[in-house]
């Protein structure tokens, strides 16, 4: 009887997998129901995780600050001087923009959400957000933090949403280098770096150059910071350049993010 039960349990996951594969809607519905039911427990777990992050962060900060107090004081004085100069440059920039008749983008509507879970597969970079379609989130909305672009919404359930990060191997973003304006595609490679592909061989890109979204494809608004170029090499086919990009966002410390709900008027 016990052996028969063990064989039965070999068949059950096969049946479950076949049903999931043949009926994607059933798969999505089950995920949706489970996410909704598990949300309170997952939110509780994420609160514990946030507490641990805070302890680690505060401890690190305290130890760091104790050792670098004098350096910080000198740095504050230097930054205050720079701030005065940057404010003057900003005022001059505003005047020049008016003269050239530039139209500044209107503020976009955003929704703040918390990251409450992650995909358990090591190379998949997908996180779970604590809001869903009931809070006006939709598939393919861009997700950002002040440092730059985080990713886009992959699946939406009523009270939660799955977001695919830039680091995921299946993530693709149309991008532009800030100075040389070379266009390419930024893709994740499953590690903590990104790859910018399909750059023209004669593109005058440099190490240290900023990479931003190009706005092509109408998923991500133009001008969102992606990262900085760390290394440049030729592609394996020899027809394009390949750049290694260090992301602007620290993906290991994501806690609160913003979903861009409306696009800026053009």
């Amino acid at each position: 009887m016990r052996r028969w039960r063990s064989y039965y349990f070999f068949g059950v996951p096969v049946v479950v997998l076949i049903v999931s594969f043949q009926y994607p809607r059933v798969n999505e519905s089950v995920h949706s129901v489970f996410s909704t039911l598990a949300r309170p427990a997952v939110v509780l777990g994420s609160s514990v995780r946030d507490g641990l992050y805070a302890i680690r962060y505060q401890s690190g900060n305290f130890l760091d600050a104790v050792g670098k107090q004098r350096e910080y004081l000198a740095r504050i004085q230097e930054l205050e001087g720079q701030l005065v100069r940057f404010r003057e440059m900003d005022r001059e920039n505003q005047r020049l923009k008016k003269l050239l008749n530039f139209s500044l983008p209107l503020a976009t509507r955003t929704i703040g959400v918390r990251v409450i879970g992650e995909d358990v597969t090591p190379w998949k970079k997908i996180v779970l957000l604590d809001k869903g379609s009931r809070n006006d989130l939709k598939k393919d909305m861009a997700v950002v933090v002040p440092e730059g672009l985080v990713g886009r919404i992959l699946e939406v359930e009523p009270y939660t949403a799955h977001t695919i990060l830039l680091l995921d191997p299946d993530s693709r973003v149309s991008a532009l280098t800030a100075t040389s304006r070379a266009q390419g595609i930024v893709a994740g490679i499953g590690t903590d770096k990104l790859q910018m592909k399909y750059l023209a061989l004669d593109a005058e890109i440099e190490v240290g150059e900023d990479v931003t979204t190009s706005g092509i494809g109408s998923v991500f608004p133009k001008g969102l910071q992606i990262g900085k170029i760390e290394a440049i090499e030729r592609d394996s086919d020899g027809l394009h350049l390949l750049a290694l990009v260090k992301p602007a966002v620290s993906f290991s410390k994501l806690e609160e993010v913003l979903c861009i709900v409306s696009s800026p008027q053009k």
């Binding site: 996951p13 479950v16 995920h31 409450i116 992650e118 998949k124 779970l128 499953g190 590690t191 903590d192």
Partner: protein
Amino acid sequence: MHRLVSAKVILYFILLAVLDGSVMPAFQIRSTYPSLLYLFICYAAFEWGATKTVYVAFWAGLLRDLLGGGLIGLDAILLVVLAPALDFLIQKMERQLPGIHFIITFLFVFCAGALRLLVSYAGELPPSFVGNYLGMITMTALYTTALLPLFNFLTDRWFGHSAARQYELFR
């Protein structure tokens, strides 16, 4: 441990699933963190006997599928296939070797990760990614194995120390 369908076991499964999905990322090292559900499967294999390991592996795999995205049942199948291999390996170890628990746990977690990688990409993985991913799987296996003594201690406390072991000489 006599019955798997008990409130303690179900609650423990839920607790481990929530910890795996929400809390363990706080302890990540270079984007890898341990899996408590894998440790529970190894615990069941070492402590509860061959007939129970498959059930634990099935429910652990199903919870991993539901927590992550993708097809439901994929992780469940992989772990159910590996569970008898795990039991077979334990049955063949006739004498206690130092660190044998750690070696078996490491091999189980590594094989589970490698099989998952193979099935996910079905041979279409670019060669440049293989090294990175295998490195992540190895780190995950090492990190998970390192938590084995603490996990066994806490799980023994949760379920109560049981005399029904697979092998008396396995301590």
